[in-house]
């Protein structure tokens, strides 16, 4: 009797898994859509590339229309690090500290030659040759310094990566 009572036309083996997977996929798509349109950046500018962040947020290029609002500039509210300038070995710890304070999901854009590869100071004893040695980086912007339009291009590329769920460390619902 109990068995008959428990089985009905809506339950069959594996149904719950399939339903769950579909719902997860749906939720993931919606959440990625939302995340891609509200990337609040933390402007981690240590050098002259940070000057180009000002026109990036100002009227002509206008980061706000892509949802990249410069709100607060605190790592605890940020989704995105706009990391620019030379990262020295002492600064690497501060960068890692700021990165670890950010809530998941978090994305990283490396701005400028110094940040991408060490740039002018690549053979120094005190330079990190590319921040992808320390934190996982999604988009690289070359240039010394890059133009504000390239910042916008990088944000659009990152939005596309997020929407298509191509950022590997956030696939399959695994954060880390």
């Amino acid at each position: 009797m109990a068995e008959e009572h428990g089985s009905n036309e809506f339950s069959y083996p594996g149904m719950s898994e399939i339903l769950f997977m579909k719902a997860e996929k749906f939720i993931e798509t919606v959440m990625n859509w939302g995340r891609s349109r509200s990337l609040w950046p933390l402007t981690f500018g240590t050098k002259c590339c940070a000057m180009e962040m000002i026109p990036f947020g100002a009227t002509k290029v206008d980061a706000d229309r892509m949802g990249t609002l410069f709100v607060g500039d605190s790592p605890r509210q940020a989704d995105l690090i706009l990391c620019s300038g030379t990262i020295s070995k002492k600064m690497a710890r501060r960068l890692l500290n700021a990165y670890e304070q950010m809530p998941h999901p978090k994305y990283v854009i490396a701005v400028g030659a110094c940040n991408v590869s060490g740039g002018l100071f690549h053979d120094s004893y005190n330079t990190i040759e590319g921040i992808d040695r320390i934190i996982p980086t999604d988009v690289f912007i070359p240039g010394c310094p890059p133009r504000p339009e390239m910042f916008m291009d990088a944000v659009i590329v990152l939005q596309k990566l997020i929407r298509e769920n191509k950022i590997k460390r956030y696939q399959n619902g695994v954060f880390g």
């Binding site: 070995k89 002492k90 690497a92 710890r93 890692l96 053979d123 120094s124 004893y125 005190n126 990190i128 040759e129 992808d132 040695r133 320390i134 996982p136």
Partner: protein, 156 residues
């Protein structure tokens, strides 16, 4: 330079002149490094600030320390030059006389490994605390190991 003559009169046969091109800029060499604090304390009567502390590495034997003092009113520059031994590099700190020397000496300690006796707070100023070696010494080599050192315990 009038002020230099007075300092020399106070400490006869201790300072040796080095030829200089400009009237307002004098360079003197101090042979006995233990007398540095006395000389600088006397020079503070005539000079307002420690303009800079410059260290030159001259292998194989010496570090050349240049204390450049400056006067606002007379527009004079006096360089006191002291040669110290490279192997046991230590000298008296003058941070008690000129306060700005504290950070200058920390930088010299950081990059050259010179030990300043009686320094109030002798730590590294530019490099991380656990940095291996002193990079502005001539015998310091920038190897791959040094370049890849991050000080962070992590692997990717």
């Amino acid at each position: 330079m009038e002020s230099l003559d007075r300092i020399k009169g106070r400490f006869p046969s201790m300072l040796k002149d080095v030829p200089s091109t400009n009237d307002n800029e004098a360079v003197v060499e101090l042979a006995d490094k233990t007398q540095l604090r006395k000389i600088v304390a006397e020079a503070k009567k005539y000079f307002d600030l420690l303009f800079m502390l410059m260290v030159v590495d001259r292998p194989p034997k010496t570090f050349e320390m240049n204390y450049v003092l400056s006067s606002y009113s007379k527009k004079d520059l006096l360089t006191i030059r002291v040669n110290i031994d490279r192997d046991e590099a230590e000298i008296d700190s003058i941070a008690g006389i000129f306060t700005s020397a504290e950070w200058e000496e920390r930088e010299a300690y950081d990059l050259f490994g010179i030990d300043f006796r009686h320094h109030p707070d002798q730590r590294r100023i530019l490099l991380p605390e656990d940095w291996p070696g002193h990079p502005l010494r001539k015998d310091f080599e920038v190897t791959e190991e040094v370049k890849n050192w991050t000080g962070l315990d992590m692997k990717f």
